[in-house]
Each structure stands twice: as structure tokens, then as C-alpha cells.
């Protein structure tokens, strides 16, 4: 019997970072998928993925959203985490899309008249990222390296997206790596898209993950299973009801719907494999972001 049938309700505290792909979890809540599993999910917004991981590991949160890169940073430092489900990612068809901005919610932009024409030109230039050693820095590094450049010669600047846009215009940075909806904002402002680092790095599969810490895993295994079921149901629904999802995204990120629609279309995977994470692990080690690839535990993913 499903937990819901027994009548008892389990509360799960879930941390998100308030981005567009949160539409899926909102849908799960609105459509009652959680309730079906006997769950009462309380969503709160945390400042960034590491903060969410910290909260999950200390038991302040039961689940948190994290991309695979912060997850690997944590794993490499022996912070025990388990992946419950995929939150967002790229579909198998993404790479073949003609317009990568339609599938990749990240983008590397330069000023219109910039002399930078390909990733390796960024050597010795300053590039803004939302956080150091996080997703955008790693993915842009890979672009540069793959293009024959040396990413260690880049001057990384941490800037929030609005400051990044402003700094790009005033020439204080040479390139900005951004997340939706700021990619489309930049383009509408006249800046030029140099590359779509996300999809080029991850290819296809899960990127954003729902992860949990040891204490919840020990106590609430059944509820986590329920969460997984509900979220995948919501993921599937979101993929097939893009308009509805985009409306929610606009609400969550406090952005006009037109801007959302101009940007990438989110994809919510229905599974996550060790392979998705292992690929990232290897790339990070290759780029020097990890000393050596993290040995992924066999039970990293719930239910494996």
C-alpha cells in the first residue's frame, strides 16, 4: 500500500534556489502528487546550492536542490549525500537542436563589438560567474580547454547576474556567464552569445538533482521514495505542459512571462544514473577542479 493509504502524513522540508525549473516541484504540490504519496512538502528558498547541501546534511532540510558540480564538491570532501531524483537536465535531443539557447538555460555572452570570437580567446580575460568553482566556471573552463585554451589563465569574477550585465556593458568584464532569464535579457540588450556551456558540457541527462543527507535517509526512506515517485510524475507533466510550467517559472523568478518564453525551454528528466554524475566527475578532475575523480559510492542514488 502506498503511504498515503495508511492515512499518516509525513512532512518533508525541501530547499530550492528559486530558479525556473522549480516549476516541477510546484506542479507536484499544486496537482496533489505529494499528497497522494502521503507527503506534506514545505518548500523554502536557500541562497545557493552549498547552503542547501549544508542544511540537508545537518538535518535542517530533508531534501535540497543541487546541480551535480556542488554535489561532487561536497562528496569529494566526505560530506555524505544521497541523490533521490533528477530535478532538471537536458533531453537526448538537446544537442541536435538548431538553436542551443532554446535548450540551454546557461549562456556565455560578450559585448556586441567584442574581439572575442571563440572560447579560447578568453585566455587572460576577465569572465564573470555567479559563484566560484561552481557550475558555470567549470563548464566554461571545459569549453576553453576543448577549444585549445588554458582556463587557468582566466580572471574569474564573482558577480550576481544584474551586476554582471551592467559590468559587461561598462567593459569591467570581458565576458559574462549567465543563467536564464538573464541570457535572454543580455541578448535583447544587444550582447552576443558566444557559447552555450551547459549543454556542451553535460550533453544529455540529469544536471540538477534532489539530494538528501544521512539523517533523513535513515529515518524517512519511505517518504523519500514517495517524493521520488511524485516528482517524476510532475517532471513528466511539466515536459508535456510547457506553457503551464513556464507560467509558474515566471511567478517563481518574478520575471515577465515574455522573457521566460524568449529563453530556454526547461527539460525535466525522468531518471538519473550514476553515469550522469560520473561524466561530470571525470571532467572536473581533468580540469583540475578535483584532485582526482571522486569514487562514487554504489548507493549514491536512492533505490539503486
Amino acid at each position: 500500500a502506498s503511504p498515503g493509504a495508511s492515512g499518516s502524513v509525513t512532512t518533508l522540508r525541501v530547499g530550492t534556489i528559486g530558479i525556473g525549473s522549480d516549476a516541477a516541484i510546484k506542479l507536484a504540490e499544486e496537482k496533489g502528487y505529494f499528497k497522494e504519496e502521503g507527503l506534506d512538502v514545505k518548500i523554502s528558498v536557500v541562497a545557493n546550492p552549498p547552503a542547501g547541501i549544508a542544511a540537508a546534511q545537518s538535518g535542517q532540510l530533508d531534501l535540497t536542490y543541487t546541480p551535480s558540480i556542488p554535489l561532487l564538491n561536497a562528496l569529494s570532501n566526505n560530506v555524505p549525500l544521497t541523490v533521490v531524483a533528477a530535478a532538471d537536465g537536458y533531453s537526448a535531443q538537446a544537442m541536435t537542436s538548431k538553436d542551443l539557447t532554446k535548450v540551454d538555460d546557461t549562456g556565455l555572452v560578450v559585448q556586441k563589438g567584442s574581439s572575442i570570437n571563440r572560447p579560447r580567446d578568453l585566455e587572460g580575460k576577465s569572465v564573470s560567474v555567479p559563484a566560484r568553482k561552481a557550475q558555470l566556471e567549470v563548464t566554461v573552463s571545459k569549453l576553453i580547454k576543448d577549444d585549445g585554451g588554458d582556463p587557468s589563465k582566466v580572471n574569474w569574477m564573482v558577480l550576481d547576474p544584474s551586476s554582471a550585465l551592467q559590468s559587461l556593458n561598462s567593459g569591467r568584464v570581458d565576458a559574462a556567464s549567465l543563467v536564464a532569464p538573464f541570457v535572454s535579457k543580455a541578448i535583447s540588450q544587444g550582447d552576443r552569445l558566444l557559447a552555450s556551456p551547459g549543454v556542451e558540457f553535460f550533453k544529455a541527462g540529469a544536471v540538477g538533482l534532489w539530494a538528501t543527507g544521512n539523517s533523513t535517509l535513515g529515518k524517512e526512506r519511505q517518504a523519500l521514495e514517495g517524493f521520488k515517485t511524485a516528482i517524476y510524475k510532475a517532471n513528466a507533466y511539466a515536459n508535456t505542459h510547457i506553457d503551464e510550467a513556464q507560467q509558474l517559472s515566471a511567478q517563481i523568478t518574478n520575471t515577465p512571462l515574455s522573457v521566460i518564453k524568449a529563453g530556454a525551454v526547461n527539460y525535466w528528466p525522468d531518471t538519473v544514473t550514476t553515469g550522469d554524475i560520473q561524466r561530470v566527475d571525470d571532467s572536473m578532475a581533468e580540469l583540475g577542479y578535483l584532485k582526482a575523480p571522486v569514487k562514487l559510492p554504489s548507493n549514491l542514488i536512492l533505490g539503486d
Binding site: P50, P70, N73, A74, N77, V79, R132, K133, M157, V158
Partner: protein, 257 residues
Amino acid sequence: MKSVRLWLLGVGTPLVLLAVWWFASADSTDTFFPPLAEILDRFRALWLFDHFTSDVLVSLRNLALGYAIAGVAAVAVGFVTALSAPIRWAVDPVIHFLRGIPPVALVPIFISLMGFGLEMRITSIALAAFFPTFIATVDGLRAVDRGLLDVASVYRLSRGERVVSVLLPAAGPQIFSGLQVSLQTAFVVMIASEMLGPSQGIGAMTLLAQQSFMISDMWSGILLLGVIGFAANFLFDLVRRKVLAWYIGSRRLARAS
């Protein structure tokens, strides 16, 4: 005999605490509480070599510059304000309002106005550190003993003499306590401006270490910030003791008798 025992207690307790930390953490496997040995190891590796010029020096220079600008400006503006009632009335409400704003909350505004460069960090530090000293200077000057001012009038001291020989020293203790608060504020804003803005500086490094779960690095950053906070305050106290020797001495005597 008794004083020797007390002295031992004073020196001994911190040593014992350090030893307890060292041994209790020696084979800690807790992710968040790594062994002290490892923290010190990272401390040496990170701060003494790798990041000394690129981060430590940058942070310290920003702190020193911002603080110096704030101190000089606050005392000068404080004098003008305190000695002219119309100016004081005009700026009082605005100043008190600005002072009410937590200084760290101004950092995002400065980032939006000036970007993330050194000038933003130094301005943030200077502006935040300005208010405590400014207010202390105005209060100190307004509280100067009437008796001393009467003496200055009776013996017809000139305006300059009055400022240099009477007002400045008389308000000295208050100005210094304002400067001390300013130093603390400057230090906090230095860290905050690094954590919020650019990727350079001790605060940024520490936050980065935390966000990428390099816990020993984070601890070593905390340790370094602690040492800098302590050392800055210590230096300040040395200067204060020298400049305000008369004040400290008179207070001690008043208490002892």
C-alpha cells in the same frame, strides 16, 4: 604567591584550551570539525604562500585605506558640525538615519553603483566606518567641560589654540572610543564586501572554501580573520594607550583610591 598562581591561571587556561582542541580533534572524522593539525597545515599552505599577496595583502590594504579615510574625514567633519549649530541641525536627521542602516546592507547598493572593484570595497569600508567616529566626535566636543572652556576664555586662548590645546584633547577619549567601534565596523564590512562581491580577498576565499566544502580551508580562513581582528584591535590599543596615557592613568587612579 597568590599573584603567581593567578598569573599561571591566566597563561595556562588558553594553553590548556588549545591543547584540548588539538588532542580532541586529532583523529576527528567529523566533516565539519577537522583536526587542528590539518587546519594549521592548510593555514600555512594557503595564507602564508599561495594567497598572501593576492588575497591577504589586498584585504589588509583595503581595510587600512578605508579606515584611514573614514577616521580623518569623520574627525574633520565632526569638528565642523559640532562647532556650528546650524550645520549640526541640518545634518543631524540625515546622519542619524544613515547610521541606523546596518553597514553591510549598504554593500549591495555600492556594488550596484560602483561595481565590484577596489574602489567599491574601500568606499564601503570608509563609509561604514565613518559614522561611529563622526558621532563620537560630535558628542565628545559637545560634552567638553564648561570649566575648561571658561579657562580658555579667561586666558584668551586663540581659536587655533582652543581647538588644538583644549577641544581636541578633551574630546580625545570619546573620539578614540568612536575610532575603536569604527575599526570593528570596517573589519566587518571588509569581510562582507568580499563575501558579496569579488572573488579576491580573505572573506571571499573563506566563503568559497565553505561553498565547495573544503572545511579545513574554511577553518583556516576563520582563524586568519580572527587573528587579523585581534591584531588590528591590539595595534589600535597600543596607539590609544600612548595617546590617551593621561586619560587611562587618571581613570585608573580614580578607581583605585
